[in-house]
Symmetry: C2
């Protein structure tokens, strides 16, 4: 199995137990993605999971707690993908290619989860949002590190590293908005094409 | 007044009359952006506009009619910005720079409206969504025309024009998600920096 197949194949909630807590998380992601966080009730979520509202409260005290767990797991996955690319062997161009490719595959293959993770940040309470902002800073730092290494090595030409870091992450994240499983491109094809576009953005020659 | 100042200054609903219909539209955009379309009631919208629910129904039969009007006005503005750049005098690189710069300024300066326009498409009914999809195709066609002209002129090197068109639009649209009025960059600064990044993406040299 290739690394991108593993990213596509992985269920983000596979580590959540017991089974009922995991089912509720899957139901919450679907409900939040379909109707938005504020339009979803804990009753909706329990219903989708085939459970009673009382059964939900055994696992999650509030709807916000569910969103917080979803957001944390999603962001932790993003951090892992980007740090693993930043830490990889190889040239800065190869590490950047891996970062973009895997980050895009995650956002395309798990676009329903990614939309909730990316668009419902404002619904988190202040303490949880601060936690998630820390994880987002780690994403930013991983990409910035690759760009900085590339500039130092003379492989990239980037006049504004923070601005380029933001643009690279933004381009990948927005895949979750437009990606359509019925569309012509597979997650891996989008990832490969975006990696080439990003290598051009940073002034590196694509390996073609 | 420069073209970007005009885009920032323009109130998208300035052509909506009477005044009460316009106030309801402003209130709807704020409510949808804050809580999501599905969590917003016509009562919420009327209340924000300082009106009664009955007064709202004089102007809009349903909440969906409001979203449809907002989405159509927002998309028509996007089409106008991109077609005007595609039709402009100048080299393909200059026209692409104008397209990206103005499209980014619109998404940054009007990010609340842009979020509703971009994220609530699924809430439109089938007929209205089909209308909006037509406007989105016009956006796509304007950018694709510039890229095609650039490749024909030998100014750009773009192996996959539909893919690059999608990426350029996506990069600009996602500005609405992350742009923060309290942040370090003005809409025009982001627009200028993104125009440079996009010129690199299509293999054109930035004018530096």
């Amino acid at each position: 199995m290739t690394a991108t197949e593993e990213i596509l194949d992985e269920v983000p909630w596979s580590g959540v137990s017991p089974d009922a807590a995991r089912r509720l998380m899957v139901a919450a992601v679907e409900a939040f993605a379909e109707r938005g966080y504020h339009a979803t009730t804990t009753r909706d979520i329990a219903g989708r999971a085939g459970m009673s509202p009382a059964a939900l409260y055994i696992h999650y005290k509030t709807k916000e707690e569910l969103l917080h767990k979803i957001s944390t797991i999603g962001h932790a996955k993003a951090v892992a993908i980007l740090q693993s690319a930043a830490d990889a062997e190889g040239t800065p161009a190869e590490r950047l290619e891996q970062a973009v490719r895997h980050f895009v595959v995650w956002h395309a293959g798990h676009h329903t989860t990614a939309r909730v993770v990316q668009y419902e940040l404002d619904a988190l309470d202040a303490e949880h949002r601060a936690e998630v902002v820390q994880l987002r800073r780690q994403c930013d730092a991983a990409v910035r590190r690759i760009l900085t290494d590339g500039v130092k090595a003379g492989d990239f030409e980037v006049p504004d590293i923070p601005g380029a870091t933001l643009a690279v992450l933004s381009l990948c994240i927005d895949v979750a908005r437009w990606f359509n499983v019925a569309g012509r491109r597979t997650p891996d094809e989008v990832g490969a094409s975006y990696a080439d576009l990003v290598l051009r953005m940073v002034g590196a020659r694509p390996r073609s």
